[in-house]
């Protein structure tokens, strides 16, 4: 559904952030993008919805080349690409409900959105999603009154309000504690599976990545240096992505986790509790 071909991005400062990235994603497939800081992970996913304008290359979503769309068509295309952010990027002073409904802005006109008169279907959908991410009854709380885990759930729900086909997830767990991180990752993966969404998940935590994500793409200095199954990520692969280091302790932990994960997603009871 998504194919990226020889994607290049050069920033005005002259830094070449992406040097010809090729990547393709099947419908409903989920991949983890790992790599050192500055490798171009953030740039790559922001090129997909053109929050960052690529310098050259091709990005096709269901056959449509995203890079040649005019502004209006681009806004239409963005509706089907949901995005989840590291620091949640909620509008802090607005209520949880307004944050969720802001995911529908691409579908409603300016005046209805100004007066917060969204179609009933959108409101029903918002309540449904709130329940699904475990935040029932929170609709009138202000976003800045929530905890980190709760905020990220609002961020996830907002992305799903768009009814996307593809999710771009940028470091969803970087500001969360380990347990909340696992809950949030599990929630994202479950929702992708339920709704058949494809997703690209940028993630720093290699252990978490290999545990939850079946396919791993390693980015180093703007180039793909690994693209394969999570099970095959070993010391040599980590060295290829991050550089030489004693990776044995980390790979031991990854192996221990993958034994536990052999039956699919690791299950825990408290999915909906943050």
């Amino acid at each position: 559904m998504l194919s990226i071909e020889s994607l290049q991005k050069r920033y005005p400062t002259g830094d070449l952030a992406l040097r010809g990235v090729d990547l393709s994603l099947e419908p409903g497939a989920v991949l983890g993008l790992i790599g050192p800081s500055g490798a171009g992970k953030s740039t790559l996913i922001r090129c997909v919805n053109r929050l960052v304008e690529p310098t050259s290359g091709l990005i096709k979503l269901d056959g449509q080349n995203l890079l040649e769309l005019d502004r209006r068509r681009l806004r239409e295309a963005r509706r089907s690409i949901g995005m989840i952010f590291q620091e949640y990027a909620l509008v802090e002073r607005l209520t949880v409900m307004e944050n969720l409904l802001s995911g529908r802005l691409g579908y409603v006109g300016f005046w209805p959105s100004w007066f917060r008169r969204f179609p009933q279907a959108d409101i029903d959908r918002a309540f449904e999603l709130l329940e699904r991410v475990g935040l029932s009854g929170m609709e009138n709380k202000r976003a800045d009154a929530l905890s980190g885990g709760q905020r990220q759930r609002v961020g996830i729900a907002r992305a799903l309000m768009q009814e996307p086909r593809l999710l771009l997830v940028d470091e969803p767990t970087a500001s969360l504690d380990p347990k909340t991180s696992r809950n949030v990752m599990r929630l994202i993966l479950e929702l992708c599976r339920e709704r058949g969404l494809a997703a690209i998940v940028n993630i720093h935590d290699v252990v978490l990545a290999t545990e939850f994500l079946p396919r791993i793409v390693g980015l180093r200095a703007g180039e793909v240096v690994y693209d394969g199954s999570a099970a095959q990520v070993d010391e040599s692969v980590l060295s290829r992505i991050y550089g030489e280091e004693d990776w044995s302790a980390m790979t031991r932990r990854m192996n221990a986790d993958s034994v536990e994960a052999s039956g699919g997603l690791p299950e825990e009871r408290d999915v909906a509790v943050a």
Partner: protein, 273 residues
């Protein structure tokens, strides 16, 4: 008492003084001397008319005495009309000025506006802030004649510059992540402004508007003196007629209203945070 350390270092005390801002002692002292000579010459060049000064002091004393028994009664109608004009001028110019300042502020924010629009809006702000209200008022009184309409235009113009500059700075400091997130949903530019920008700057917008309401009332008293209507005109007339007791009444009412406005705006600002 001499500490053991000092005795050990042979009884030598180590003094410390703060290093002077200007290193060279000669330059430092000649600057002081220069300043002193200038001051003496400057005072020497003043031509003081002692007769005029004593007359002024007498009038000043009359004024102070008048202050002790302000006369609200004899010119009450004029004072009332003056205040009505001033308050009308203040409210209308603040409302119109704030409304117009919002688009200018968006245009003057580096993170939202393309360069040509940015430069145009910043240019307008610079002009509006450079020209003092009194100068603008003199100009507009010449164009539109005496009366509160010129005052309304003056204060509107000043309000736009003031609000747009401070609001633009606030917009430039909003969290870029929220902007990005709203753009990523496929929202149009106006919707992004509403959800990501307005919601973040709203408390500041409300606070600044109330502050400006304060300033506009005070300014309305000042620009009245050059003919732009309002309480300033009343005050000016009273002074011209040497009716210091009425003038004192006007000033007391101005002070009371400014105090009330300040207290009120502070209260509202605390509420909207």
């Amino acid at each position: 008492m001499i500490s053991p350390t000092l005795e050990r270092s042979g009884g030598q005390t180590r003094l410390w003084i703060r290093p002077p801002f200007i290193q060279s002692a000669r330059l430092r002292w000649s600057l002081w001397a220069g300043a002193l000579i200038y001051l003496v010459l400057a005072i020497g060049s003043l031509e003081v008319n002692w007769a005029r000064l004593s007359l002024g002091l007498e009038r000043g004393l009359a004024f102070v005495v008048a202050f002790l028994r302000p006369d609200f009664v004899s010119r009450w109608d004029e004072i009332l009309i003056g205040f009505q004009e001033s308050l009308t001028m203040t409210l209308t110019s603040t409302a119109v000025g704030v409304a117009l300042s919002i688009p200018v502020a968006v245009g003057a924010a580096r993170n939202l506006a393309p360069t040509p629009i940015y430069l145009a809006c910043r240019g307008f702000i610079a002009v509006s802030r450079t020209l003092n209200e009194i100068i603008v008022a003199i100009f507009l009184v010449a164009m539109f004649g005496f009366g509160p309409f010129a005052g309304f235009l003056t204060l509107t113009f000043a309000t736009i510059g003031f609000m747009a500059k401070l609001l633009a700075e606030d917009i430039e400091e909003i969290e870029a992540a929220q902007l990005e997130a709203l753009r990523a949903t496929g929202a149009g530019p106006m919707q992004v402004l509403d959800y990501a920008v307005l919601s973040q700057v709203l408390p500041r917008l409300a606070g600044l508007s109330l502050y400006r309401l304060d300033i506009n009332f005070r300014e309305s008293a000042v620009i009245g003196i050059v003919g732009a209507g309002g309480i300033g005109s009343t005050l000016n007339t009273a002074m011209d007629r040497y009716e210091f007791d009425s003038a004192a009444a006007v000033i007391i009412v101005i002070i009371a209203i400014v105090l009330c406005a300040e207290y009120l705006s502070g209260w509202v600002r605390r509420k909207v945070q």
